[in-house]
């Protein structure tokens, strides 16, 4: 790529992707949804999810976290179906990467399993609560949680290799430690964790929120694994997906049994997100991650406000 095109492309491409992501939403705002042919919405959903998948990887956020507020806020589907599809999107993204991350040592089973068990139990409770609450209350709560995620994204610090002097007794008893090959340094790195009881409690809350709103929980899993337990950042990111593949599955079963999984919404979303995430992974070296992260934060803040306004009836 010519050097004079490189810098403008890096800046413009993310903006273009986000603008295109908003196009179906603009169409929804300007045209009554009933006047559009039925196939417009699954197609718009596929395109939107494809674009979300592209930006989610460089932004370091799960596609499910962007999916529910954007689709819930700007598409004509009831939030029950959006949350059901959101869980499947988060699950499919986690499954697509899971086996490779496990084999490479970036996802750790012994770290994931105890946390996933508690998150799975509480995510079912979250799903039950979510389908019992009225839609406008859920929209407002979704807006508040999305704005909280924005705040978390702005203030959370990350550490590549946090210092863990000594594992806590529970982590030692469960044998939660490991080694992974760090491609950046070209060396194997050993790791161990601490504060396991606190992390178990936090994963109960994370599972509840994930099931309640149908959003993936990468935004919360990674900070808890990395900053609370002290797992290396890459191990935290890989293990987060493994936990998500179990906690999203338990909540998804509840949505499926409730009839809240509509294939015409769920399937184009899953396919679009998986394809977009593959492109996003390849574009990691082209796109400037910090730039995309800032734009995603702005987009999430907008979607969060939109959810609150929709829930209060101020902007239908």
């Amino acid at each position: 790529m010519p050097a004079f095109l490189d810098a403008p492309l890096r800046r413009l491409l993310p903006a273009l992707v986000l603008l295109m992501m908003a196009m179906p939403a603009l169409a929804a705002g300007e045209t009554a949804s009933s006047s559009l042919p039925w196939w417009f919405w699954p197609l718009a959903l596929f395109v939107t999810c494809f674009l979300i998948g592209i930006v989610a990887v460089p932004a370091g956020i799960g596609g499910g976290t962007l999916f529910v507020p954007i689709v819930g806020g700007f598409f004509p589907f009831h939030l029950d179906f959006v949350r059901g599809a959101g869980l499947l999107v988060a699950l499919a993204s986690a499954l697509a990467a899971g086996p490779m991350l496990l084999r490479s040592g970036l996802a750790n089973l012994r770290l994931a399993l105890p946390l996933a068990l508690l998150a799975s139990i509480s995510s079912i409770a979250g799903a039950m609560l979510g389908l019992a609450l009225p839609a406008n209350a859920m929209q407002i709560a979704l807006g508040v949680i999305v704005l909280a995620i924005v705040a978390l994204m702005l203030v959370t610090k990350k550490a590549e290799h946090p210092e863990v002097a000594q594992p806590d007794p529970l982590a030692a008893a469960l044998g939660i430690h490991g080694v992974f090959f760090d491609g950046a340094s070209g060396q194997f790195a050993r790791w161990q964790v601490h504060r396991t009881p606190l992390a178990l409690f936090l994963f109960l809350l994370i599972g509840l929120i994930g099931g309640l709103f149908g959003i993936g929980a990468g935004w919360a899993n990674v900070p808890v694994l990395n900053m609370v337990m002290g797992a290396p950042l890459k191990v935290a990111a890989g293990t987060s997906g493994l936990i998500l593949s179990l906690s999203s599955a338990s909540a998804s079963w509840y949505y499926i049994n409730s009839g809240a999984t509509l294939p015409m919404i769920a399937v184009p979303s899953v396919i679009g997100m998986i394809l977009g995430a593959r492109i996003g992974a390849h574009l990691l070296h082209v796109l400037k991650s910090s730039h995309i992260r800032k734009m995603v934060i702005v987009l999430l803040a907008f979607a969060g406000l939109r959810a609150i306004l929709k829930g209060t009836g101020l902007w239908m």
Partner: protein, 143 residues
């Protein structure tokens, strides 16, 4: 190969990781293939739809309870009886994807017991029970 490298290599090749990753991979691929095939059958009308796609814009803005009532769709595992319809055939692929963690978890139980690691064998068994409980529909799902 130094001690650290040897230990790392052994760690990465643990049986539990290999078994879990392989079974998860096969389940995930099977789920995606079924999902793509059934969605194509639904979209192109190769299988008749239970709820016609043209009807969906009138229904997908309703809460799930009203949607089920107005579309006469089944809840719980009732969809299985309608799996010959294009829309419900998609749930086969979805269910395989959602359930694809069960075989690897079940396979880990005897592996952990063989390693005399009872804590992890119990954790895996409990996770299987939680997933089966959620899948069974006895937790009150359905309207």
């Amino acid at each position: 190969m130094d001690v650290n490298t040897a230990a790392s290599a052994a760690d990465l090749e643990r049986d539990e990781v290999r078994v879990y990753a392989n079974l998860l991979y096969y389940g995930m691929v099977a789920g995606f293939v079924l999902l793509l095939a059934s969605f194509a059958a639904y979209l192109f009308g190769w299988l008749p739809a239970f709820v016609a796609p043209q009807e969906l814009p009138r229904l997908w803005g309703l809460p799930v309870a009203q949607y089920l009532q107005q579309s006469h769709s089944p809840s719980g595992w009732g969809w299985l009886a309608q799996a010959g319809h294009g829309d419900f055939s998609n749930l086969v692929g979805i269910v395989v994807l959602v359930g694809c963690s069960l075989p690897p978890l079940l396979a880990l139980v005897p592996l952990f017991l063989k390693q005399r690691d009872r804590a992890y064998a119990i954790i895996c068994a409990l996770e299987v029970l939680v997933l089966l409980l959620a899948a069974s529909g006895v937790l009150g799902a359905g309207h």
